[in-house]
């Protein structure tokens, strides 16, 4: 194709063509089938780009709970109302057509709202992270911390065990219990009790540990410290520190040198018996293996539970594109890994597995046929962030009558719902959001209060939802505790329940009529999922949590 002609075509499309050139283009179109074809290709491309650019399901928009583009389209809703008008005046078809046009711009009168441009940047208070803990017993009255927690300014105290803390400046501190300390900033920690090893890389040079009357300024590499009730003693393992304040103000200590600060600690070599980072790693691995083994025993018992619909003990699965269903219902219920699902560490450390659904195409597909009287869903999940408006745990494909959706809203609320009647729409005033919400299909979403925010990123959670039409109740649990209990009213009663084709960690909408899909992949990891066809009791849920919880929880 002559590039001049192509340019003419684009200028015509963009309405910047001169009348003379437009004449030329018309002549070319008449003369050459190739130009004609090229013109139509350009028009089609620009139309497609325009459609894509105005596509309402783009990421900058928020979807309703169930856009259901595959079944329900705006016209099926507006049709009858408009039909009545058109019966009276055929002329009103014009108005109707305008109505349709409008409908295209806002399908389903979607309750979409643009995510505000002035989104407030998320912020977290913290100066350090708790990298590892082994056998830690937190002191009475002290805050219980989990591995991976961001540590804010403030006190940390534990009676037993070992904790490894990474300061944001780059220094690593290993404390042996009993220990009491206070994190003051990225660059400063006060120790009031306990033994500690500090490793300070060049990037963290200048990091300060305050003990007794002095400040220990690290000038590179490694030192040990013991703080007792009377005073403290410091030993340089490798490198150099400078003391500031107190009687030894200005003194430098080099490799192998020790100094008492205020007396009271008589141990000659402060460093002897202090754990190194690699020793902590080994101890942790050992403890995790034990915990993992304990879990395997209880998990094996669980597999023969006749109430179980399906059970995916992902933690023990090491390879392949399949997650095994371990319930008695067998192999046909195995889940299939689709797309960029990553196998990563599970909640028992690197020896156990978890499935990560970080990317939009990641999903595990399952098919759980049959009808059920009730649902109990439980899972262990680590949430990295709630990136999307709705973040999928377990979602039936079509969300048809009797089918469940289990997900987490971006404000940290757990959501459980079952479609009551997929041929109806609901409109209701949502008190929480203070607005009228319209949803495709009659269903009700049962929420918990927010349980997750970004400070919980990386923690493991045991989540459970128990949906029991017979008892008219929906109970939701987090870490074995009942956190929400709702009544199923007559209006929203549905039975029997089904699942059918469904996805873990994402939502498959295979019946949709466009290529667009709602982005709901879970940015996190799931390492165990169980589905029961009966309601489990609060005690049973709690014992599932107790038996399955990872080290340190």
């Amino acid at each position: 194709m002559d590039s001049n002609v192509r340019e003419l075509i684009f200028r015509a499309v963009d309405q910047t063509i001169s009348p003379e050139d437009f004449e030329r283009l018309q002549t070319e179109i008449e003369r050459s089938p190739d130009v004609r074809a090229e013109y139509l290709r350009a028009i089609n491309l620009c139309q497609s780009l325009g459609e894509i650019a105005s596509e309402p399901t783009r990421e900058s928009f928020v979807d309703t709970v169930a856009p259901r583009p595959h079944k329900e389209r705006w016209y099926s809703k507006s049709g009858w109302l408009l039909a009545t008008a058109a019966m009276l005046f055929v002329v009103s078809s014009v108005a109707f057509w305008l109505g349709l046009q409008k409908g295209i711009e806002s399908p389903q009168e979607r309750v979409a709202e643009r995510v505000a441009d002035d989104v407030i940047e998320a912020r977290l208070a913290g100066h350090a992270t708790l990298r590892r803990v082994v056998d830690v017993k937190w002191s009475e009255g002290a805050v219980r911390r989990l591995e991976g927690d961001v540590l804010p300014k403030g006190a940390i105290a534990f009676d037993e065990g070992v904790a490894e803390i990474d300061l944001f400046c780059g220094a690593t501190l290993i404390f042996e219990g009993p220990a009491e300390l206070e994190i003051e900033s990225d660059w400063s920690v006060r120790v009031t009790r306990g033994r500690m090893r500090a490793t300070v890389p060049p990037a963290a040079r200048g990091f300060v540990v305050k003990a007794s009357e002095s400040e220990i300024v690290d000038l590179g590499t490694e030192f040990a410290l013991e703080v007792g009730t009377q005073g403290a003693r410091v030993e340089v393992i490798d490198g150099e520190v400078k003391l500031r304040g107190g009687t030894h103000d200005g003194k430098h200590l080099r490799t192998g040198e020790t100094q008492s600060l205020g007396g009271g600690v008589n141990r000659d070599r402060v460093s002897s018996g202090l754990s190194t980072s690699s020793e902590i790693g080994q101890r942790q691995q050992l403890a995790e293996t034990q915990r993992f083994d304990q879990w395997k025993v209880t998990s094996n018992k669980l597999r023969s539970d006749p109430r179980m619909i399906a059970y995916f003990p992902i933690a023990e699965s090491q390879e392949g594109r399949v997650v095994r269903n371990a319930s008695r219902r067998g192999k046909s219920l195995d889940g299939l890994l689709v797309g960029p699902v990553e196998r990563t560490s599970g909640r028992f450390g690197p020896q156990s597995a978890g499935l990560e659904f970080d990317r939009p195409g990641a999903r595990v597909r399952t098919r759980l046929d049959g009808t059920f009287d009730a649902f109990t869903f439980t899972c262990w999940v680590r949430i990295d962030s709630l990136e999307h408006r709705y973040n999928a745990l377990f979602m039936s494909d079509g969300y048809e009558t009797g089918e469940p959706h289990w997900q987490i809203r971006d404000d940290g609320r757990l959501m459980f719902s079952v479609m009551v009647d997929d041929t109806q729409d609901v409109r209701f005033y949502n008190r929480r959001d203070q607005r009228v919400v319209k949803d495709a299909g009659k269903h009700r979403v049962y929420y918990t209060d927010p349980f997750w925010d970004i400070s919980k990123s990386g923690q493991w959670f045991h989540l459970a939802a128990v949906y029991s039409p017979a008892e008219r109740s929906v109970n939701q649990y987090i870490n074995g505790d009942l956190v929400a209990s709702d009544e199923i009213t007559d209006e929203f009663l549905v039975s029997p329940l089904r699942i059918g084709a469904a996805e873990i960690g994402n939502w498959g909408q295979p019946f949709r009529s466009t290529q667009w899909f709602a982005v709901r992949n879970l940015n996190g990891t799931i390492d165990e999922l169980a589905f029961f066809g009966t309601p489990l009791t609060a005690n049973e849920i709690n014992s599932l949590y107790q038996q399955g919880k990872p080290l340190g929880y």
């Binding site: 437009f22 004609r36 290709r41 089609n44 325009g50 039909a83 055929v90 014009v94």
Partner: protein
């Protein structure tokens, strides 16, 4: 226009069918009309007139191929749309750029073929967009967003219009080639 024995009920049912068909084919029909009109300005008007005319004549519509009644509807609506596009341009031939009737005739038969493959084309465009960088994608989509144009974006971003044009056209060229390849590939794979 109604069959003599049409009861209101039948008519109601017909209307419901009609709405479904028209809605289903809205985008391809819009493309078809756009292909016959040099400016997007009159497209909405022509579509409106087409919809009205289609409804008036809907009782006469007989699907030829009962297997694909919906596609027949699109063909039928396109015939009506072609007349509407012709007459719209005839009325305005004095005050703006419009295609000659001979050009519209030639384009209309080819255009019908392309709109029938509109879903595939659009899928291909989406896939091809993914091959561009984020910045390129943003540029080419922003130019085609409703109410946007190259000139406007150039003004707002302080870029030279001509330079921006070059970039946009280069991206369109790339997309056209990519789409063509993809569609050829799809056809070959059956």
């Amino acid at each position: 226009m109604n069959r003599p024995n049409d009861s209101p009920k039948d008519r109601e049912q017909q209307y419901d069918e009609f709405v479904v068909l028209l809605a289903k084919h809205d985008l391809p029909l819009r493309r078809y009309v756009r292909a016959l009109m040099p400016s997007p300005d009159g497209v909405d008007d022509v579509l409106q007139e087409t919809a009205l005319e289609c409804w008036k004549k809907y009782s006469d519509f007989q699907p030829i191929d009962s297997q694909e009644p919906s596609e027949d509807f699109l063909r039928w609506a396109c015939v009506i749309a072609r007349f509407k596009a012709l007459s719209w341009q005839r009325d305005r031939s004095r005050d703006r750029l419009v295609f000659r009737e001979s050009v519209i005739e030639l384009l209309s038969s080819d255009a019908l073929r392309t709109v029938l493959g509109h879903e595939e084309e659009r899928r291909a465009v989406s896939a091809c967009l993914q091959e561009l960088s984020v910045e390129q994608r943003r540029l080419v989509l922003s130019v085609h967003s409703p109410g946007e144009s190259v000139a406007r974006i150039a003004r707002e971003t302080g870029q030279q219009t001509r330079r921006l044009y070059h970039r946009v056209n280069a991206l369109r060229d790339r997309l056209l080639k990519c789409v063509e390849q993809r569609l050829a590939g799809e056809a070959a794979d059956g």
